[in-house]
Structures are given as structure tokens and as C-alpha cells.
Symmetry: C2
Subunit: 212 residues, 2 copies
Amino acid sequence: MLSTTSRTTLGRAKERGSTDRNDLYEVLDTALVCHLGVVADGHPMVVPTGYGRIGDTLYLHGSTGARSLRAGDGSEVCVTVTHLDGIVLARSIFNHSFNYRSAIIYGRPRLVTDADERMEALRALSEHLAPGQWDYARRPSRKELAATTVLALSLEEASVKIRRGAPKDEEEDYDLPVWAGVVPLVTSYGEPEPDPVLPEGIATPVHVLSRE
Amino acid sequence: MLSTTSRTTLGRAKERGSTDRNDLYEVLDTALVCHLGVVADGHPMVVPTGYGRIGDTLYLHGSTGARSLRAGDGSEVCVTVTHLDGIVLARSIFNHSFNYRSAIIYGRPRLVTDADERMEALRALSEHLAPGQWDYARRPSRKELAATTVLALSLEEASVKIRRGAPKDEEEDYDLPVWAGVVPLVTSYGEPEPDPVLPEGIATPVHVLSRE
């Protein structure tokens, strides 16, 4: 079950809300970036960034200088993950919409300082971005680790919204001679493009070729 | 030229910054949703939402009840638009990255009350979501207009970041026997799916079929 705090309980479009924790995991595990919202110098600031998940913890990382990661000081953040699945063309302009799956997580991230947890978090972030690379590419050096801030955000307070399927039109509009339906949006991986300076004889690894 | 306020001047990865206003337009005009960040009851809140652009004004809309649109009261928002173009696989985990194009806009939105400007804004929002539909589907009724909040956000204070191309590895890592390159991410439109209750004989309009 997901939380039912005032800010994770939907005020509108309640039928789009999910209270199934597995929907949250599915939304998080199949997207690549989140939008991290913080309050910086009194104003909102939203930045796209990668993430990783281990159980009910979301990990974020970045340069130790990043303004968006100062939240490790105990202030609140909002992390939003959005999949756009289609454009919903209704019979009226008003009922046009997106098909989407989105998750919103609220909380106060914890600065991760334990060396083992930091490494597990970075592995989760790396495997989320590029599965198989953690055991393939060069691991972080001591200097690189020192330059990296890792934050942990509990998935305790989260909400999920999902819209699927055909348009919902006003009763009287169904008689209009207007086409209605959904144009799906599909995101896919293209052919891997080798670094132009890659020496000959280094084959594209199977875990890169087989990504879907 | 784009602005050079303290919050739109990049602190890190300066080489990724663009100061060309045309890059801002290109990022905005080719994405479908933004992530709107507000401060709600003292905490950050980030929601995905559609938008439209006319010149140097970004228009947002939503239900009059939407918490995220209370910003019409003069408080600050941050609007972020992100295109994910590829996964950058480097020789080291540390230098893994995304190829992306993103825009961040700061400002205090203005509540749009003028009837003509509201209609032009809704047209821009609609045409951004689904080009051609404004002249095809039923236009908003007086009741629907009354239920809709429209906000205008100036593009005056904005920054654009773009990362393209191959990984940038540490000098000493280029000798490693590790494949490096980019896996492109491609978003495309699928075959339009008619509403199951659509009467026979209503053809899919050309502007829907020809969308790319």
C-alpha cells in the first residue's frame, strides 16, 4: 500500500490514483530520469537527474557542488518520475489528455556517509542507467568517490497516477463526427554508436547490444 | 541571448550551457510536457503538465482546483523541460552520463484573465499537444473555460543545457579495453488507435496520421 498523507492523496482525477506499491516500483524501475524539486534560496528549483532504487529507498547522486543536492541538510524534496505513453485525442479540446504513468515522492533525503551503502547506492544508480556496466567499466576511484554526494530518499510518502486507454468525452459529444483515439508514444533504444576514438577490436558488449 | 542571473548561470559543466535563445525555443517546441515546480505549504512540489509557447511567453493551464497552479498568486515557479537523447557509456562508471537537452525557466507566472489571451493560450497549448486539433475538435465551452486556470510565464530568465556526442573519459582510461559510446534514445509516435466506440466511417484525419 502507498501512503495516504494529505499531499499524496489525490484531490482531483481520483480514478487515476493507484495505491499499489508495485505500481510505484514499476514506474520507477522503467524510467531513466526523475525531476528533483528542491527549495533553493526560497524559490523552487527542478532538475533532471538519474536515480537508483534498492527496496524502499531511492538513491540520488551528483557532484558535491550541486545546488540541488544540498537537500542532504534535512530539507524537503519532491521527486517526480513521468512516463508519457500517448496523446489522447478527444472529441472536445477540453478532454484532450496524455496517457501517462507518474510517481511523486516527498521526503527529506538522508546524506549517505557509510562507505558500503554509498557503493551499493552508486551500483544501483549505475545499473539503473546502464545495466551490466558496473561489472564491465572501471569502478569509481577514491578521488571520484570523494567528489560525489549520495542521498537516500525513503519511498514511504509517494503517490502514483496512471491514465490509460481511450478518451473520456462528454456524453453529448459522442455523436460528433470527430475522430477520437490515442496516438501512442514509444521510446526505444537505437543502434549503439561507438566512440569515434575507440580502438578497433573492442566489440560492443552483449549487455549493451541486448538492451531493450 | 539568454539571461545571466545567478540561478541561470551554470556553476558546473559550463561547456554544456547554451546562451542561444533559439536553443531554448527548440527545446521547448519539441518536447510535450514540462515539470512544473512550486513551493506548496513550504515544501517543493513537482508535477508534469503540458504547455504552449507564444513568442517569449510560456502558457500553462489546468483545473481551477489544481494546487500546482496557485502560483498565479505571484509566487515563484520553476519550469523544467528535458529531452533524453541517449545513454553515454564511458570507460569509467564515473563518466557515464546522459545525452540530453534541457531548459529551466524561473519566474512568477501571471494569471491570464483577458478572454482573448486566454483563448490564444489554450490554442497554443492544444496545438502543442496535438497540432491540427484546435480547428478539428469541439472548442471549449463557456463552462469549460470557467473551470480552467491559465498562467503566463515569461521566458526572460531561462537557461539551456545540452550534452551531445561521445563519452569524455579520463586521459588514462582511453587505453582500457572497454567499449565506449552512446546508445541513442528515440521517441516516436505509434499507429493511431481509434476509440473503440468510434462510429464506423469516421476516418483518421491527415493531421493525426502525418504527425512525426
